[in-house]
Symmetry: C2
Subunit: 622 residues, 2 copies
């Protein structure tokens, strides 16, 4: 218990809920890291697609980013409306389910869930890849570093919402401040120099274009850049985490404002300093932001600080998934699509089971792909845009029903615009990445939907079958027949037999004789050891039955015997008393005799409702 | 059950034991593969050490092998005596224990056990390495191939002694016949050509010596070549596997005769054809035997057959460990140094647990070292020679005590010679391989000895503490107090409550209320649902206690409650009836509610001997 308290903090009462809520600024670092980190990799991935365009790519970047920011703003405004309409948390699952029907809700949940899982794997492996390329000595330990990061993220999130939001405050705001300063200084110099500032350190020169500027390449660059928009959903889903919905709305505004400014700033400076993407597989590779920061402020300590903050935020972008995925699971569990344990708030008032599930799946992905999740990147963002589209479409329906509310028509138009824009983006993403792996979503998302439906169907069927609403029928109260399996004669067995003799006047001890445990003098001494003392205490004396096991098995003959006793005594309950010996060392778990456990399991799986199994413990006290 | 029968064969009665015994020839393939495979790798490993001697190495090889064969013959004669003296199996453990004391026995068992485990890992990985170097396309699947081989060996050995001996007959005798023919043909040609035959395919030319011929290099070559002697112990340990001890003795004679002839033949031909070891890391590498077979018979189909048989026997050399390691464990378990399950003969009359333990340790080693067990080879053979020495020393003591038996003095001299020779070899092995890893045996073997002693001490202490020899005391027979934890109201819970009401007049239902399971109308309906029907059946009506759980836990409050009830009712047994719901799908194991299991475990670990736990099953029938 001491260790648990140290790792995860003391247990919290349900009533301490209010003190775990967060404000605007903590909300930004808790839920915003995914979105903010997009400022670092969004322009990069768009430029990577445009490498064949050479110098030309820089010219295309700014209109592309303006486009993306425009969509971002529409999505932002729509989600702000969602926050106000669903103060108890309006993730795509809830919104789509309530307005479009349960099936669309599941579809949104599956798509978003997939995206959150990928976000963890991709975020961590990208961050560690950046670290490893900076410190090549760490290369052999890539997987271990990924898993260690995952464990730290898991542990901090298990400490609760507040702890997690507070923990990432410093990296978040360092990132915003440093990058903001670089952009400000860069833009200032660019304006002074009439748009052509001289860099402190020259970026890699860009070659002339080796491919024509086609709409296909622009489309693909746009699709890649759209990855910058994932993570916007998290705030609207997490409204209940905040003191007041207004704070959630404010947190979303802050996140989007920073993201938009950073994206546009990076775009402007890439153009001014003529910075394009470099081929990551070539020696001397530098990321776009590394070139940009170096061009503006040179290679001093500030460069180091900024790059460190960028690396931290990239790695921690996984935190948004940790904050939001368990909430999605919680909503699904509330509707019985997942087991009830996903609804259970753990010791720190977070949905422990969802956090653990996310960590396990992400861990498996990281190990399976050996930390090289390039392939998974192709699936990334599609799920988020499917969820966005469904959520926005749900909001359109929401306003259609509430047509009479003030400004409902305007709100509906806004959400409809959002739905069309995000839907189009989802299609573009899907088409442009189809071959590279997007086809997998066609299998994974429907499979997840079917799995969730099956789980609910099974759960409901079970509940119906087990339902009891009539008064209990007691029936016959004949005392139970008690069977005590014995493997010899020692104090745990004596203890079980004592309990049996006290509980019933009809006790049958049963002994299995094998080549390992041959017949000994117990039968001869039965009268002295058991029968006579039982009669002396006024109880019937137990019988002793001997079973010979030719096949050296000990469990099966007893199960057969109990079966026979139950059949021969219809209407009576058969209690099997299994002696168990307990010690109190941690290593006992490993060296413990598994026989009682096995016997109990086999008896219960045998399927006779009249057979109950009693575990009679005997404790070794030293 | 059907699958088990198919994989491992039908279950065997203890009385079918005699039909599982084996004869001389099956004994050779069951227990002899380790020794026979030595003919293939013994000369190779000795020549590898002598690579710096170039052409010179070939000249040194023959006297070296003569030396090894001489020791082999002494060891053979001593072990023959052991077989006759210990017809129930005279492994080093038994012989050392009975004649030198338990501690020396353990020492021998630990050394031999270590060697057997290494033999499996090294044998399989060496075999697969040979296969992979022949078929490079298989290289990425090296580990999978190793594990697959391990699984096949494990499964065949679990099918029983007879099945295993029969399965390896064809590879064993193909190997002996092919290699025998090659040696015969080679020697015949060499004699015809006056000792300088012309090869069908010329072996790689040997360079002149680049190092002087020192006694250190010869010693190291000798030590490496001694690996050829491991596996001799297996027959003497496995005497009870044979119909008669005489057959075991005969099997050992056959194995040693073949091994001696093959070793000397290979040595003679290496010299005649001037074949030395090649550096395995250089391209175009050929093993000594591959060069030798090609020199004698060329590269035809017979070459392929012979090399295939050599590869098979190398890989299967692990089988000797599978046949013998479980017997060592069995002897240890009989003396309580291992848990009794190692003494238990499984469905096919073999010591299942020992086989599984060996497979698990070898599997872990193979995975941990990624199938590259070069490093483990350095530990190899030392354990075997320590065991040999202890066994021979034990035999000396054995004859000293039986001084008056006919020819006891001669037998003692023979065993003493064996002890001195194997002891010297053990020291040479240890010194010459100390730096490469032999030092590890200094830690591992004593650690194993201590572990075994600790296990015995613990087992004996437990037995003494749990011993019962006085008649049972029944004590007070007040009816038990029954507690039924409830998480709601459904048929499994109703079923548990019915059992409780039938079993005792004092039943307390207890309900935990959390934010997940809020208070519902059950309390209000208690009278109708439970209390009135109970009274109608003539039983006392159960009480319903409500526990509020601020921390959302459900198990802990119940454990505390039961604790309180037990304390408030000294002298009475408290029966906790846990409702369990069972279905019958294979996947139920994964989605099952773990709550009843957890509750039972926590209640039993709580350590109150008056608290027993009843598992009341309810079955969903569809």
């Amino acid at each position: 218990m001491g260790l648990r308290d140290l790792l995860f903090g003391r247990e919290l009462r349900s009533s301490e809920d209010a003190r775990q809520r967060i404000g605007t600024l903590t909300g930004v670092s808790l839920l915003g890291l995914d979105a903010l980190s997009s400022a670092a990799y969004g322009p990069e991935v768009a430029l990577v697609v445009m490498i064949p365009l050479g110098r030309e790519s820089v010219r295309v970047l700014v209109p592309l980013l303006v486009c993306i920011v425009a969509i971002l703003l529409v999505v932002f405004v729509s989600y702000r409306q969602t926050i106000h309409a669903y103060p108890n948390g309006g993730g795509s699952y809830v919104v789509a389910k309530q307005n479009l029907g349960a099936r669309w809700g599941l579809f949104a949940a599956a798509a978003l869930g997939l995206d959150y899982v990928l976000n963890v794997a991709v975020g961590i492996s990208a961050g560690i890849a950046a670290l490893v390329s900076a410190v090549p000595a760490l290369h052999p330990h890539m997987i271990e570093l990924c898993i260690a990061t995952l464990l730290v993220l898991t542990a901090i999130n298990l400490r609760g919402v507040r702890a997690s939001g507070t923990a990432w405050r410093i990296p978040t705001w360092t990132f915003v401040a440093c990058l903001g300063f670089v952009l400000l200084a860069g833009v200032y110099r660019a304006l002074l120099a009439g748009g052509r500032p001289s860099p402190m350190i020259a970026p890699a020169p860009l070659p002339p274009a080796i491919a024509p500027l086609t709409s296909w390449i622009v489309l693909r660059a746009f699709a890649s850049g759209c990855a910058a928009m994932t993570g916007v959903e998290a705030v609207s889903n997490g409204v209940p985490l905040f003191h007041r919905p207004a704070e959630a709305s404010r947190a979303l505004s802050v996140i989007i404002a920073i993201l938009a400014v950073l994206l546009l700033g990076v775009g402007f400076l890439c153009r001014a300093y003529v910075i394009g993407a470099m081929d990551q597989s070539l020696p001397g590779y530098q990321s776009v932001l590394s070139q940009l920061v170096a061009a503006v402020v040179g290679h001093g300590w500030f460069y180091g600080l900024t790059m460190g903050a960028i690396f931290a935020v990239l790695t921690l972008s996984a935190n948004t998934s940790f904050a939001d995925f368990p909430r999605v699971c919680h909503f699904l569990a509330a509707d019985e699509f997942l087991p009830p344990s996903f609804r259970h708030r753990g010791r720190r008032l977070v949905y422990t089971q969802g956090i653990v599930l996310l960590a396990v799946i992400a861990g498996v992905l990281l190990v399976a792909f050996q930390g090289l999740t390039d392939r998974l990147v192709q699936l990334f963002a599609i799920g988020a845009f499917i969820a966005f589209t469904l959520s926005q479409s749900g909001m359109v329906q929401h306003w259609r029903v509430r047509r009479d509310e003030p400004r409902a028509r305007m709100k509906m138009t806004l959400n409809a615009t959002g739905a069309v824009l995000t839907g189009t983006t989802a299609v573009v993403l899907f088409v442009s990445k189809f071959r590279e792996g997007a086809w997998l979503t066609l299998i994974l998302i429907p499979a997840l939907v079917v799995l969730l439906q099956r789980m609910r169907a099974r759960h409901v069927a079970l509940e119906v079958a087990a339902q009891a609403c009539v008064p209990i029928e007691i029936g016959d109260v004949a005392p139970p027949l008690v069977v005590v399996p014995m493997l010899g004669w020692n104090r745990p067995i004596e203890n079980a037999l004592r309990f049996a003799i006290q509980a019933s006047g009809d006790v049958r001890a049963v002994r299995v004789v094998t080549e390992d445990a041959p017949l000994d003098e117990l039968s001869a001494r039965w009268e002295t050891l058991v029968a006579r003392p039982a009669r002396a205490a006024g109880r019937a004396s137990p019988t002793l039955d001997i079973l010979r096991s030719d096949y050296r098995e000990v469990v099966d003959p007893i199960v057969q015997y109990v079966h026979g006793v139950a059949r021969a005594n219809p209407g009576r309950v058969v209690e099997v008393v299994v002696p168990e010996l307990f010690e109190r060392h941690w290593y006992d778990f490993f060296v413990r005799n598994r026989y009682p456990e096995l016997l109990r399991t086999m008896l219960l799986l045998d399927g006779d409702p009249r057979v109950v199994v009693v575990s009679a413990p005997w404790y070794l006290t030293k």
